[in-house]
Symmetry: C2
DNA sequence: ACGTGTGAAGAGCTTCACAGCC
DNA sequence: GGCTGTGAAGCTCTTCACACGT
């Protein structure tokens, strides 16, 4: 793991875009294509529902129905969709096919995304075989590991390649996204190599905070963290009086 | 992500309920032991760092160092920790062992959490073997599946049991949390049974919105969603000019 | 009548900046 | 000098409520 705090540069995950007042010139044009992060993540949920509706032949859908199937409020749905433009019809709803196309376009799913998974342990192998990626437009093009026992074996329709050749594999497969399914101890060094190889989009499952340059997009999924958050709420329900020495109490 | 930040957030966990205008008597006392959700998810990150420091013998840590290793700002760390009480020493920092204990306590990790994983597909098996759960105080006590080919086999140190006996298994193993690693199609019905069996904390990996009673805590992790969010940002960096075309005009 | 689109109000979170204590 | 604790300011996101189009 990273030696004591201070093994280098401390960069923030996904640049803050700060500058409260960048150029006061053209705020609207820039802002117009900046979707709020919360909206982006909900758009993926709407898209999932829309695609389900599409394949069952439904033609129109209301914000109420979309809200229901995404687990949010309908006002929220309408606000989110309004960032994309006025694609609904008042008194009627949204046309499923059209809206689906618009969301996919806004999310950049028209592009071809080629994903390399680094780490062929339990999780990496599970991800490599997960059909959900392919079906949603993400091509898993490589699976890498450092373990020589795994290199060369086949997982799903992929052959595991040596992480020593990471740069070469990424270039050859023209991967433009990387999923890190690695132990915490090696995650940062592999991450650095991935960034140096020109990858700007990384999804990490390693239970450690990775530091990356500001221009790199890093998202983290940590299953133990999720369970701990559940534990917090569960404990609160179970034992409503947990007044330790809290301020204000 | 919690994602980073962001994170696609959970859905209406615990909802708003009592804040608006409960009893105007004692608002502060109740509010005092309600940690902001964003704080809760960062506390898990601090705890991870603290435990690492603990095992390497470091005794004190500053908010700056904690911030660095969690990927947030130091003011944020201090604010978060201040919700727990004043456990730091000005001019010095925080005592690692003490702070670690306080956070674990606040998160409810003193409790014993017994997790049942439903679904022994690729992901379920990977989760069952994931050492990160055990090491952080979560005991995986059962692994269930509907596939008769899998029932009875051993994964890690667990024997797969039949999901038909779900209620019985949950009771017998005294599980108090459930992880759903199921296909979307069956997730809701299994979820309903899990809730009926008295489980109030559920972590779902199924790519579908589950509906649960308000008193149930449901968190979702969706890997395809994470990739789509990355795609959005990557596309923005690659192609700064996003076209728009108005619908009818 | 129905359901979208949207300013405005409200709630929550982050960042700042500095007082207070070691 | 160094670092915590915290009001206040600023920002983002959510919710409300209703005008508007069909």
């Amino acid at each position: 793991m990273c030696s004591p705090p201070g093994c280098g540069h401390g960069n923030r995950i996904w640049s803050v875009t700060l500058s409260p007042s960048q150029t006061p010139d053209e705020p609207a044009a820039e802002a117009a294509r900046q979707l709020p992060p919360a909206t982006v993540s909900r758009l993926t949920l709407y898209l999932r529902t829309l695609n389900a509706l599409l394949s069952e032949g439904t033609e129109r859908v209301s914000s109420e129905a979309l809200a229901e199937s995404a687990g949010v409020g309908s006002a929220n749905v309408r606000k989110d969709l309004s960032y994309l433009g006025s694609y609904g019809t008042r008194g009627v709803g949204y046309e499923v096919a059209h809206l689906s196309r618009k969301i996919a376009q806004a999310l950049g799913l028209t592009h071809e995304w080629r994903v390399a998974i680094v780490g062929a342990g339990n999780l990496g192998r599970a991800l490599a075989r997960y059909a959900g990626f392919e079906s949603r437009g993400f091509d898993v093009v490589a699976l890498l590991d450092a373990d020589q026992m795994l290199v060369g074996t086949e997982i799903g329709w992929l052959r595991v390649t040596d992480v020593a050749d990471l740069e070469h594999t990424l270039e050859k497969t023209r991967a433009n996204m990387v999923v890190l399914a690695l132990p915490a101890a090696v995650a940062q060094s592999v991450c650095d190599r991935v960034v140096d190889a020109g990858i700007h989009s990384i999804l990490s499952f390693a239970p450690v905070a990775l530091s990356v340059p500001a221009f790199v997009n890093l998202r983290k999924v940590d299953m133990a963290t999720e369970l701990q958050i559940l534990a917090y709420h569960a404990q609160r329900l179970a034992d409503p009086r947990l007044d330790e020495d809290r301020p204000g109490a």
